[in-house]
Symmetry: C2
Subunit: 117 residues, 2 copies
DNA sequence: AATACTATTAGCCACATTGCTAACCAAATG
DNA sequence: CATTTGGTTAGCAATGTGGCTAATAGTATT
């Protein structure tokens, strides 16, 4: 199936690439401008952009000799959703455990309690 | 500064590791149980767990000969927040652009409009 | 005490990633 | 039309990642 999340998280795991995303959240920009603040060779930087584009995080169009890059928000939302689901599941579980513990402490009269699974 | 997000996203970029997280969202589990559904050698799997632990995503305690692993929700929340901020920034920008376009279409009477920056 | 089970360490290989330089193409610009 | 500018391609080196097997350690279990 080769999940989207795979290439997405891979793309986000690099500080240079995250910095590009942060910059692009403020609006589209040409390659040269995106490259400027980073102290790496342009070809190297270009490959970072390609990784981002392959992950569907950005798109770019070339007009004349300038390529303009812009953010694609949908993948961010997707990953955000995934994280949220996992976290909420876990948080919810903790809440339920907590309730169980309180219930058990309240009275040992004979409550049938099922916790995990 | 060696951001948390670095190791976090790195850890999440592997399907095996994400599957472990998904499993752990349902509750803690011993190493062997976590390993079972994955068709890779145990030592290999163990290293995945180490990556997750190094990224602060899980913790584990060993009792007897069994190591029990559990999810740590805080990092998920942190990454979730980061993504949300970037996305909202971008979405907000789109909204503002949209508004601008509508404003410009409404009347070309002589409105002074500032968009980006 | 011997055996079986759970986890761990060590070491190896193949491939991916990230960095570089050098050379090059195509579109402005003088 | 020569030059500069913005981006791209090709190729190399160093390091990281993910997989394996073999061997070991430390509990249970019988």
């Amino acid at each position: 199936m080769t999940n989207h999340l795979d290439s997405f998280f891979g793309a986000m795991s690099d500080p240079t690439r995250r910095a590009v995303i942060e910059r692009l959240a403020g609006g589209p920009a040409p390659v040269s401008e995106l490259h400027a603040p980073h102290d790496i060779a342009l070809p190297t930087f270009l490959r970072h952009l390609k990784v981002l584009e392959a992950a569907g995080l950005v798109r770019s169009e070339k007009k004349g000799r300038v390529r303009t890059v812009h953010l694609e928000a949908a993948p961010l939302a997707e990953a955000e959703g995934w994280l949220q689901r996992q976290r909420q599941l876990w948080d919810g579980r903790l809440d339920r455990l907590d309730a169980l513990v309180r219930e058990m402490e309240a009275g040992t009269e004979g409550g049938s309690a099922n916790d995990h699974t």
